[in-house]
Symmetry: C3
Subunit: 293 residues, 3 copies
Amino acid sequence: MSQFESWSYGYPPVTNYYVPAQPLSYSNPWGNVPYYPGYSAQDGHHRATQPLTFVLIHGSWGDASYWDQVAADLRKEGHTVYTPEYAGHGADTNKNVTHADITRSVVNYIVSRNLKNMILVGHSFGGSVIQKAAEQIPDRIKRLVFMNAYVLNDGESIADEVPPAAAQAFSQLRAASKDDTIMLPYPLFRETFVNLADATLASQLYNKVKPEPAKPFYEKLDLKKFYTLPTPRSYLYLTTDGVLPQGEGFGWHPHMSDRLGVFRLIKTPGDHFSTVKTEPARIAEKLYEAARD
Amino acid sequence: MSQFESWSYGYPPVTNYYVPAQPLSYSNPWGNVPYYPGYSAQDGHHRATQPLTFVLIHGSWGDASYWDQVAADLRKEGHTVYTPEYAGHGADTNKNVTHADITRSVVNYIVSRNLKNMILVGHSFGGSVIQKAAEQIPDRIKRLVFMNAYVLNDGESIADEVPPAAAQAFSQLRAASKDDTIMLPYPLFRETFVNLADATLASQLYNKVKPEPAKPFYEKLDLKKFYTLPTPRSYLYLTTDGVLPQGEGFGWHPHMSDRLGVFRLIKTPGDHFSTVKTEPARIAEKLYEAARD
Amino acid sequence: MSQFESWSYGYPPVTNYYVPAQPLSYSNPWGNVPYYPGYSAQDGHHRATQPLTFVLIHGSWGDASYWDQVAADLRKEGHTVYTPEYAGHGADTNKNVTHADITRSVVNYIVSRNLKNMILVGHSFGGSVIQKAAEQIPDRIKRLVFMNAYVLNDGESIADEVPPAAAQAFSQLRAASKDDTIMLPYPLFRETFVNLADATLASQLYNKVKPEPAKPFYEKLDLKKFYTLPTPRSYLYLTTDGVLPQGEGFGWHPHMSDRLGVFRLIKTPGDHFSTVKTEPARIAEKLYEAARD
């Protein structure tokens, strides 16, 4: 295990953990069924929803529209949802951006709106963005949720977490670009980003892909402060994601998720880019399960 | 692989395996659909249930009530179910117990009732208990079923199978106790034991948690005899369990399950402590699939 | 990672990837819901089926009847399906065959029928067969689909990919045979090949098992050409397969699937031998998702 795989990270020292709001009791036995009102024994789902504020951070080769359908379903459930677009993406045609520029976009978006008590969600590259944002505005964050997202070790870059052959491919694609970007070849996108989609959806989604600024992939990030933060964190793992190898020293879960220390694990079937379009209600539900108290 | 990951363990030497009750035949082709009466092509579920005797052994920080809803559903299906509570747990307020005391509780429970041909199920810490019980009363056991349960190597302790940071946390909690126990901090329980539960259920379940006797976590167990037993065994893996890391040298499956040699694998979504409360019928069904001939 | 776990294998050099048939466009945004006609937002399933030609290659201890129910469901969906039986299996009682004989059976079957633009599917041992067949008739293959199938490294044998204890067991069974075959003992079959089946189905399937020619398990295969082929490939992983350990350096996925380089991952619950009988429609659907453009 890396130095970051620790059950103590993300919480105060284990000798003085906080206790639940209601006083602990060892003497209130509960019966068989139903053992508390309002609970569905059918599916384990919540009945009453706790309204939350979500800030959803998209990943590379994407923009705010990645979240359109999921955000709509979260709002239907009574949540407040923001989907900021960051430097070098979407409306911003300037590709000459750094990881710090991207983080600044997100932090400014949150601070300018004075958002507080947020669930800050990062997808893919967005994981490294919420790691850095959490260092800058920890008091505004109720919980971090990583959804098939990078959790970088201190001193790592995104490029350090992709297999050697993929890193080599990205370097070639970067070198072939005129503006220091990396454009995803269609076969790589179709087979590994949208493996669960049919060809029509795959093409529609690919047609929205824009060349990704390369620099932020190769910047080593200082994450020392992140690994001292007590912010609660969850990892939502879509289990059919083919973007990274699913074992042997790489991948979203458990390879990167374990770096979060004590975290809440939620799993559901899904790929990297298409399941948010084909089954947004289920993804919204799992984001809520990852986010609730 | 460890010396215990062997396909021959748990069965007689491979040169004289037993054959099914009905004589083998290489000449009785079966048609397409339905290829045998009474089989549901819909879901692969049994139609006729084989009545079994289950003895369900709970884990740490739990008591016999862990199984209440699952046992009720197994009984509905016609099975006989026992849920013994062992030394240092539930009604027993004496926390000064050893692993041998706990095993003795279970063995005495079984022998005093003269239970035979049982399916002996262990959850979590209970896995190490059924390993030791199997050494003492092998002739009473039809099959062992491990449900997100420890399968210790010979000479190991439970503490040897938790990540270093978690082991350190447990040591601190033990040191902080007045009676050599380990009390689970709420955040650790909420995020890793009941990650699929909502906050209300999480608190209700936490309110039942009592400090766990520490000594049995640190006792190295002699399991040489266990690894010579021919008892059939199954591993039921609830796939969303966050109590142990899910890869990289730790965890329930495949890390510990593989030590069983030839075993029957059953998987279903679920966490460590709440899915038996929210979806007991499904867990009961999977226990049956793990237990049937 | 092995030298074969490369994102560039299976595609031309990354600097000249092909692009989708329709011209790329970065300017056609799509709305929220429905974002394209004919797409089901309910389940992500295709509405319109693309008719394909499937050639399904069974594994060891099996014959063409392994695919009977799945082939019937694929045909119902409008696909053309072939299920060749190869040397030393099914109708062929001569067990003295080599891996090359088996591959020749499959290649001759395909060439004699002049099959083209095929989806060539291999199950288990059949994975090594489609690897070799792909080297001989690459121009006839539209896509390779591995379903819980061996993907051997260049120079490996099947025996190299089974755990030491299993390899030892197979050697003993081989030595005990009169005709250089390996017969599966019932307990091994019941617990690891048909773990999800009930006892009746397990016995019915076992009664069809014939001793497997041993030689092809131990032949080292030259697969240098396979690892230069640009043929698209998918891996369909049935997640409850107990035939190989599910981690720690062994197993179907990700251990062997990662050798395919850029591949399409599809997952669904299932075991090695019984799910194709109990839930053929679901397996047929997942094979289509693995095979479509």
